[in-house]
């Protein structure tokens, strides 16, 4: 993975997208193989060291929604604060930047339970951004969102990757959008896994193999799926 790249992991339900992402983030134990980060096995990172390298946005809801957006984003600074969690000026400016990038200024004093799904998702991404790690992993950041908010979230991810030179990896079912926005994509399939730039993958006809041909087919010209009647 290169710096400043947006990578999408797609595949059918149960292909192992989330499993892969959660293994990369060391949320769950690996099934097999090794994960290397900066040439070092991820198993050899302790929680604190890893927190400075990888931040996460998971599908699970946060346990307490009685905190303000600002407090939520501020929690992203935890790996850098002192033993009792005092925010320095540097921390505060990073939090401000994260809130500004996700356009949450008007919402920052609202409680999380007052937010819509899309707003909460943006707040979670802001928190990951405030953690200021080289890698941000997001598990299905666009589920439960309407088309407009899906596009909005993905475009934000793209701009985060481009402007802050972070590596952003997300899993998604929005294959068509991913093709248009991602720098690289990983297609998880039961047999073969294709990895590359979206246009290369289209040329390799990787998307055709993703779904059974008698239900959906892939149109290489428009980069979209069509339902077989």
């Amino acid at each position: 993975m290169g710096q400043g790249e947006l990578m999408g992991i797609v595949g059918i339900n149960g292909a192992g997208k989330s499993t892969l992402l959660r293994t990369l983030g060391k949320v769950q134990p690996k099934l097999s193989g090794e994960v290397f980060l900066n040439g070092k096995n991820i198993e050899n990172y302790n929680a604190m060291a890893l927190a400075a390298e990888i931040s996460l946005v998971l599908t699970e809801p946060i346990a307490s929604k009685n905190m303000t957006v600002e407090e939520l984003v501020a929690l992203g600074r935890q790996p850098y604060t002192n033993w009792i969690g005092t925010l320095t000026e540097d921390d505060k400016s990073k939090i401000k930047t994260a809130i500004w990038m996700l356009e949450l200024e008007t919402l920052q004093h609202k409680k999380c339970y007052e937010l819509s799904d899309g707003q909460l998702q943006r707040a979670m991404i802001a928190r990951a951004l405030a953690q200021d790690t080289d890698i941000i992993l997001l598990d299905e950041p666009t589920t439960h969102l309407d088309l407009y908010h899906k596009v909005k979230i993905l475009k934000v991810l793209k701009s985060i990757a481009f402007e802050t030179k972070k590596t952003v990896v997300f899993t998604s079912h929005e294959i068509e959008m991913a093709i248009q926005l991602c720098d690289t994509m990983l297609l998880l399939d039961t047999t073969a896994h294709a990895f590359g730039q979206p246009c290369e993958l289209i040329e390799q006809q990787a998307f055709e193999r993703l779904f059974p041909a008698d239900t959906v087919s892939f149109d290489a010209k428009t980069g979209s799926f069509r339902i077989e009647k």
């Binding site: 929680a47 699970e60 307490s64 929690l75 992203g76 935890q78 969690g85």
Partner: protein, 343 residues
């Protein structure tokens, strides 16, 4: 929601209320001591009636301080458990601490009649009861800790704690079935709880335990805040889950275990105070919540103890009943009025 507000004023107010409650608690009791004499004695002056002086310094003041320690400690351990399990119904005793203490006390009081050969324990007094209760709660806590090292899921731990509680309760039932009425009564009296009868040296010991427990939880503030997001997020923020879980459990064990040993299983405070606190301090930040529950718990316990004394009469009601009778309606009223459980 407006801007984040400063809670300094609320803290000053709460602290003044605490001082007031402390004064009220010391001023009232079975024996009528004039207010003026009470305060003269409190501030080191000499009063004519030396038995009043004795009552104040050897009964009421230690009792008031015990109430403060018990209330603060239970409230804090309730907050710790609610955050650790992210469950608003959790309290200081979910890990089976009070049932362990009950088992210890029950074995000492009622078991000695069953195993008459073992009447070495014949001496049943406050101190041996405290020791038995601490051993009981410590053993149950140890069992829970051993299980905790095997299970990854904190929610499973919650259920396991409850199961340990059931087992010990069952053993206590069996014991009470076979014991004689007098011993049973003695056990029931213990289970009512009491903040009186602590000597200054016992009070010092309790204070030490509570201070250590509180320090441990202060150290955990940062991980407690992260745990509010859920364990996976907390870990991704650099929290060492296992270590912080142990720290919180040990802190709760010290607080709730120590208190139960000296004052019996006092219900309700640990569960309710964190909720009452969140009604005023509407925040999830433990740097604010932690001192707030300490003060709040002390206030509530002092109030309950004042009522339990039935000022002016010679009777004393069981403190355990008062905490629930006074506290539960308050919580219900608050929740109905706000129509929302903030957690």
């Amino acid at each position: 929601m407006g801007k984040p507000k400063s809670y300094r004023l609320s803290f000053i107010f709460l602290f003044l209320v605490l001082l007031l409650c402390l004064a009220v608690n010391i001023s009232f009791g079975s024996v009528n001591i004039p207010l003026a004499d009470t305060f003269t004695s409190l501030f080191g002056g000499a009063i004519e009636n030396t038995s009043w002086d004795y009552i104040l310094w050897n009964y009421r003041i230690p009792k008031a301080f015990t109430a403060v320690l018990v209330g603060s400690g239970l409230a804090l351990s309730g907050l710790l458990m609610q955050t650790l399990f992210r469950n608003p119904l959790a309290g200081p005793f979910v890990l089976g601490i009070s049932s362990g203490a009950s088992l210890g006390a029950a074995l000492l009081i009622m078991g000695s009649s069953l195993f008459s050969g073992l009447s070495v324990f014949g001496l049943i007094n406050d101190i041996s009861l405290a020791i038995a209760a601490s051993i009981g709660s410590f053993l149950v806590l140890l069992a829970v800790m051993i299980v905790a090292s095997r299970v990854k899921d904190t929610m499973a731990l919650l259920i396991i704690g409850l199961m340990f509680g059931s087992i010990t309760a069952a053993i206590v039932s069996v014991l009470s079935y076979f014991t004689d009425a007098e011993k049973l009564q003695q056990y029931v009296y213990w289970s009512f709880g009491s903040v009186g009868n602590l000597s200054w040296s016992q009070l010092t010991l309790l204070l030490t335990i509570i201070v250590i427990g509180t320090l441990l939880s202060v150290v955990s503030i940062k991980s407690l805040n992260a745990l509010l997001l859920g364990e996976n997020y907390a870990q991704s923020l650099g929290v060492n889950l296992k270590k912080s879980r142990y720290t919180v459990i040990i802190s709760t064990g010290l607080l709730a275990g120590g208190i139960t040993a000296f004052a019996g299983p006092i219900a309700f405070i640990g569960l309710a105070v964190p909720h009452l606190t969140r009604q005023i301090f509407n925040t999830t930040e433990h740097r604010i919540l932690l001192p707030a529950v300490l003060i709040y718990g002390a206030i509530l316990m002092l109030l309950c103890d004042t009522v339990a004394q039935l000022p002016g009469s010679a009777n004393v009601l069981p403190i355990n009943a008062i905490t629930s009778i006074l506290g539960a309606p308050v919580v219900i009223w608050l929740l109905v009025r706000k129509r929302k459980m903030v957690f």
